[in-house]
Symmetry: C2
């Protein structure tokens, strides 16, 4: 089973690496870090370099496609090599997936037409503009299309996927192996739980969060 | 504020990238990806390449030191350049931190003598051998030494750290920005919650989990 994780400049590193970690333990899986050009892309803010090892035309029929988000998503909304690759890969994929604003890229490539999907909570309404029905759920499964909400939700999405592919025991083993027993020191991870001033702060800076400026 | 995240071959990518993501939003912080040699290290299992941009002798006085874990930890238990760097950096750091088996490296370098600390649940007893008092807590703060349990716990640790450094509102904003409202599809993230057969499976394969073979 070949898993293609798309990497691009200004992505949110955790969008890609959360699911990467979980999926790397899927029995029989091989992960390919795919991008337009071999070599490092640079993540948003911290500048972490993540290596692209496989160029788009070197892997056109992965079993799982995963598209992370981050401010770099904005540069991938027009038709081009990445959309072409996504449409080709999607014709044979078993699962086509995204984390955070990665769903906007899938939507712009025309892969989510008429489907239910999610995205970062600040980007949900942008999905509608692409003919997608946005939902506030953390992980949305609509046929073979699996989308996750913001950033950290990719971990929950990947565990859900592993459960469907390899069964509950394997998924639970990976959860225990990665000690994923979350205990955030605050309960502010969604707009209906966070203090009002914090939600307002993020809404007022949504351009910064979604576009990096 | 300079944050040094140590990278090495066969690390667990999420150990480093979970806290990286959270800390990259800390106001005024600059993250440095530090390692023995500039260029990519390769993560355990999936082979993701993460770029070292700063060599050890280029940053000897970071404010925060973060040591991830993973099977590559085993190659860093003997005295050498990494231990030297850790001891030097620790003389001026405000916080010296680890995720997963990264605490074993800190312990082997002599930085956790007589302190309370944590590690991956399968590695807790190894801490004792280095004169450290192991605890099963997810995040342990003992003075300026902050250690996190296995893999995903680095996210909780980093949010705890941000709260102490920049206050609750900033930490909550980062939690909301990364939509860290975890909803794992199973409740198997710690040995006292996972089904018995899953715990046994991991214990029987602890060498594989901790040493990659």
């Amino acid at each position: 089973m070949r898993i293609a994780i798309l990497l691009f400049d200004d992505l949110t590193a955790l969008d890609a690496v959360g699911p990467y970690e979980i999926l790397s333990f899927l029995p029989g899986a091989r992960i390919h870090l795919v991008g337009e050009r071999r070599g490092p892309v640079r993540a948003h803010r911290g500048g972490l370099g993540l290596m692209v090892d496989t160029e788009l035309d070197e892997l056109t029929d992965p079993d799982i496609v995963l598209v992370p988000g981050g401010p770099g998503q904005n540069a991938l909304m027009d038709d081009g090599p990445v959309h072409d690759w996504l449409r080709t890969a999607d014709t044979t994929s078993t699962w086509t997936t995204s984390v955070c604003t990665g769903s906007l890229i899938l939507a712009a490539a025309g892969l989510l037409d008429g489907r239910r999907a999610t995205s970062h909570w600040l980007a949900l309404e942008q999905l509608s503009a692409h003919g997608v029905e946005p939902t506030g759920e953390r992980v949305v499964v609509d046929g073979k299309y699996v989308t996750a909400a913001g950033v950290s939700s990719g971990i929950d999405m990947a565990l859900t996927l592993v459960g469907r592919i390899a069964g509950d025991t394997t998924a639970q083993s990976i959860q225990l192996g990665t000690e994923y027993d979350p205990r955030p020191p605050y309960d502010a991870g969604s707009p209906d739980k966070a203090p009002e001033e914090v939600v307002r702060l993020l809404r007022d800076n949504s351009r910064f969060v979604l576009q990096g400026r």
